[in-house]
């Protein structure tokens, strides 16, 4: 049975948008055309609520090889090689069906990277769920982790890092952001623009079915709510084996110089791929849906054009090379079909066995969507909930253990142990071994560090400063492994931009992102925006996930985050002036409120440079940034990883205006915990605060002190394993129980 044609409202277009389409077309669009417009004019494809703001971001830099607008950004790593990277969300599909949603999120981001001719060499992911004591959150966590593992493990790309936060505002709308890193010879990289009138358009990979119809418009560009179970058919189903073949096939085609351009089929399927290729090349494209290999013979032309079936790529090929292209596809046992031709018409024309069933000007279809201004308004007070889970009278030792056991801080070993971290022979630092993943690049003789960060709770406290902090944390993580930032990408996960508070959050966050990238001199080479992340209880925490790639000259000269030797001195470096604003402890006390101090970007950048040089020259034994759970948690993590205790006095932080409690558990940007030779650390200008040794973590700060056994701290920090495993409980099939 074929799907029934829907009205423009059912497809997510407003009346005025529909009228604009009629005006640009000079007539009412038919079913095929309306379906295609509704997707390319969706928030997901057109960025209609964010594009104006994104123009503020700095995108140029001497090392930029590809910037925004391509399938992925890329930076030069020397010797004629480039590193490509991109992050993309697959939030709503994962909230509706976590395994396939997350799996196809990985599949999609891999295709973005090999679409520009780069071999995927690593995956990272950034996940957000509701609190771990919720059955639904554990079900989503379990499904998403299995899905990410299933896809990445099967295709042979290592998962080298990431982060996970558990917060109530993500209860109904989890976030699954997947990042892929690729490596390429710069001269073999390819752009997505169609070119060459008369060239053939070849569809490669899987057959086209009815899965994922309307995914971009119905699922990705609207709030979640009741009845989302019925949207499950809009979630695509992934097949990593097919992708593995398509990946190798595409890389072989590019290596042999057989393609003019290449584009993956993601959201909005053939519609967006064909439309965007034509738009980028300033040409037209004819597609004959009768030539598209189908899973179900009776599919309507509009279904073929909007299907989001996975593992498909679209290439433009010179006619003389088509035969050779089809031969390589046969070798890899992957499908291939000549489905269209590049024209000079400036139109995307859809044909069915030669008969025209759709005809739209490329300009109207791809670039004609109106861009909207936001109507932001700051909230008067904290709009999210507060829940006390820790007694405010808990002593400092209990507090430290409660922080270490917080699911957002605790070890994520249970998660990353389900991912292949080593395939490809590049992984020099595996997850939790260092602050950033380190991948060696023997081809160019150097290495990269990669980090992905974004603490939504702190962004919710103050979107501008919180976003600045997220970028600074990335930079600090890179500094800890000796890497210097080359470029940044992001995935902006926010609520409904048509509402004033999410609009304010988005506006402030993008301003913060632009400001900090400008000050650090780090170009934004790409990005993704995911809006309408709301559940019945309101918007998610505003969550700009930022990912940075940095270069380090020698993969052997990097630092672990844990202490290395008994007797080493411990030092604090950087402009760290912690407060309780937005901290994990404030969350556990149920005292969250608006407000976050403004970071001193220049001072943090200077500290990063000192740490980076110290790591590269081997002057420190370990380096770890201070983030969630404050200095006490950072120090404890350094001890737990080493299995060695420590003794430290944080009294000197009083000079920075900190109370004893803030010194222990307060959070803020710019702090590094270093260990090593005392004289070396002093020479860096670091503040000596203690010594590595013993079997206990002993901390003092004015009238507050604590002693916790390393064993006890380890047990608390490892507690996620058992708690997550109870995901074996039967998953709840409904999005939410009775109201």
């Amino acid at each position: 049975m074929s799907a029934q044609p829907a009205t423009h409202r059912e497809l997510g277009l407003t009346d005025s948008e529909f009228e604009l389409i009629v005006e640009k077309m000079g007539r009412e669009p038919n079913t095929v055309e309306l379906a295609m417009f509704s997707l390319l004019w969706s928030e997901h494809c057109a960025y209609k609520h964010s594009r104006k703001l994104l123009g503020k971001l700095p995108t140029d830099g001497p090392r930029v090889v590809m910037g925004p607008g391509e399938n992925a950004g890329a930076v030069d790593v020397g010797s004629g090689f480039a590193v490509a990277f991109k992050v993309e969300s697959h939030n709503h599909p994962s909230a509706v069906e976590p395994f396939q949603g997350a799996a196809t999120g990985v599949g999609g981001i891999l295709r973005d990277v090999f679409a520009i001719g780069a071999r995927p060499i690593a995956i990272l992911d950034s996940l957000r769920f509701g609190e771990l004591d919720s059955v639904r959150s554990r079900h989503l966590l379990d499904g998403a982790v299995r899905g990410i593992g299933h896809y990445g493990n099967s295709i042979g790309v290592p998962n080298v890092g990431g982060e996970i936060y558990f917060e109530e505002p993500y209860e109904h709308n989890c976030l699954v952001n997947a990042m892929c890193i690729g490596f390429a010879k710069t001269e073999e990289m390819v752009r997505a623009a169609a070119a060459g009138i008369g060239n053939t358009v070849v569809l490669m990979g899987a057959t086209t079915g009815r899965d994922g119809i309307g995914g971009a418009s119905v699922l990705a560009s609207a709030e979640l709510g009741e009845g989302d179970d019925a949207k499950r058919p809009t979630v695509q189903v992934g097949d990593p084996f097919e992708e593995s073949k398509v990946l190798e096939c595409c890389l072989e085609l590019l290596e042999k110089g057989l393609l003019v351009s290449l584009q993956d089929l993601g959201a909005a399927g053939l519609t967006s791929s064909a439309g965007e290729m034509a738009s980028a090349g300033g040409v037209g494209i004819d597609i004959d849906v009768a030539a598209v290999p189908l899973r179900e013979a009776d599919m309507e032309p509009f279904e073929i054009m909007v299907s989001e079936s996975q593992e498909r790529m679209l290439a433009v090929v010179e006619p003389s090379k088509v035969e050779a292209v089809l031969t390589v596809c046969d070798k890899w046992q992957t499908g291939s079909a000549e489905i269209g031709v590049v024209t000079d018409s400036g139109h995307v024309r859809i044909l069915k066995a030669g008969e025209v069933v759709g005809d739209m000007p490329v300009e109207a279809l791809v670039d004609g969507c109106p861009l909207y201004d936001l109507a932001p308004a700051a909230p008067a007070a904290w709009i999210y909930g507060n829940k006390r889970t820790l007694d405010p009278d808990a002593d400092s030792a209990e507090t430290l253990l409660a922080l270490l056991a917080a699911p957002s801080i605790a070890s994520k070993k249970w998660v990353f142990q389900q991912y292949d971290q080593v395939v490809g022979s590049r992984t020099v630092r595996r997850p939790e071994a260092a602050d950033a993943a380190v991948l060696q690049l023997p081809e160019s003789g150097n290495a990269i560090g990669v980090s992905i960060d974004g603490n939504g709770r702190r962004v919710a406290c103050e979107p501008f400063n919180g976003t600045v902090e997220a970028v600074l944390e990335c930079a600090q993580n890179l500094a800890c492994v000796g890497a210097e930032p080359l470029g940044l990408t992001n995935c902006l996960n926010f609520g409904n931009p048509e509402k004033p508070v999410p609009a304010w959050q988005l506006d402030r966050a993008i301003s913060g992102l632009a400001s900090v990238c400008e000050q650090l001199g780090v170009p934004v080479v790409g990005g993704n925006v995911s809006l309408y992340n709301e559940g019945p209880d309101g918007p998610i925490y505003p969550t700009p996930v930022v990912a940075m790639v940095g270069e380090l000259p020698d993969p052997a000269k990097t630092a672990p985050s844990s202490f290395q030797r008994e007797g080493d001195a411990i030092a604090l470096l950087g402009p760290f002036a912690p407060t309780m604003h937005g901290s994990e402890l404030t969350k556990q006390r149920g005292e969250l409120e608006l407000g976050l101090p403004e970071p001193d970007v220049a001072a943090v950048a200077a500290a990063c440079a000192i740490v980076r040089d110290a790591v590269r020259s081997g002057r420190v034994a370990s380096a770890h940034d201070v983030s969630d759970g404050g200095l006490a948690s950072a120090l404890a993590e350094c001890s737990i990883g080493a299995g060695i205790g420590l003794r430290a006095d944080l009294q000197d932080l009083r000079e920075r205006g900190c109370t004893p409690e803030e010194a222990l558990f307060g959070e803020g940007t710019g702090g590094f915990v270093l260990s090593g030779d005392r004289a070396e650390l002093e020479a860096l200008g670091a503040l000596i605060i203690g010594t590595v040794g013993g079997t206990t973590i002993e901390l003092a700060a004015g009238d507050r002190s604590l002693i916790v056994g390393v064993t006890d701290a380890t047990e608390a920090w490892r507690s996620l394993d058992a708690r997550a495993e109870s995901a074996a409980e039967p998953p709840r099939r409904r999005l939410r129980s009775a109201p």
Binding site: R146, H150, N153, G156, F241, S244, Q418, V422, S425, R430
Partner: protein, 210 residues
């Protein structure tokens, strides 16, 4: 020594295996799964990955590939054959090695560094990463394997994360020229990525010739 590394659709670790063969001092080239001609190759690595998507059962389709026919001939002639992870599964499916690999006890994919003991009792630190790595064979077969010295690698105490019977991580055929193991020695040849103990697994096969 010249190694051939098989490449199936869905192989993942073939380039790592190629690299490892070179690190231990050999030469290596990829053998496409449709090739039947192994001339010029002294030994073969059947690498890790998900050959044919592990459809039907891990290794069940790859065993019928033309290249595997040639590998069976090489093995019969006494040439060295090393199956790693999916390659081990393929060799078991092909009947070149005894036993079978089942889903991990915890029903989850596991990736971690594991300590292995070789037949001489030496400890090797090598990564393991698989979802179907629980070695199984009937009791009588296990007794026979032990009696013949065919248990090539065992997980050290506390390192048997998949529930393999008798802690078996890898086995060899009676002649000793065909070896398969679930952990990945090709990922333990570079000190920067964690360990170089995997080199010994390759070197242990260098004495065999067809």
């Amino acid at each position: 020594m010249i190694w051939g590394v098989l490449q199936f659709p869905g192989s993942c670790d073939e380039r790592d295996a190629l690299n490892a063969c070179e690190v231990v001092g050999g030469e290596a080239r990829l053998i496409w799964h449709e090739e039947r001609d192994l001339s010029g190759v002294d030994g073969v690595v059947v690498p890790g990955g998900f050959s044919y998507g592990d459809y039907l059962r891990a290794g069940a389709i790859a065993r019928f590939s033309p290249a595997m026919e040639a590998v069976a001939d090489l093995a019969a002639a006494g040439g060295p054959v090393l199956g790693i992870c999916n390659g081990f599964q393929v060799l078991c499916e092909a009947g070149l090695l005894p036993g079978a690999l089942l889903r991990n006890q915890e029903l989850r994919f596991i990736c971690k560094q594991a300590d292995l003991l070789d037949s001489d009792g030496a400890t090797l630190s090598v990564p393991m990463k698989h979802g179907e790595g629980r070695y199984y064979a009937p009791e009588e077969m296990l007794d026979a394997l032990e009696a013949n010295g065919q248990v090539a690698y065992r997980y050290a105490d506390g390192h048997n994360s998949n529930g393999s019977v008798r802690d078996i991580a890898g086995v060899r055929n009676e002649r000793g020229n065909v070896v398969g193991l679930m952990p990945h020695p090709e990922h333990a040849v570079d000190p920067l990525t964690g360990s170089i103990d995997g080199r010994q697994v390759f070197e242990a096969l260098e004495g065999f010739t067809s």
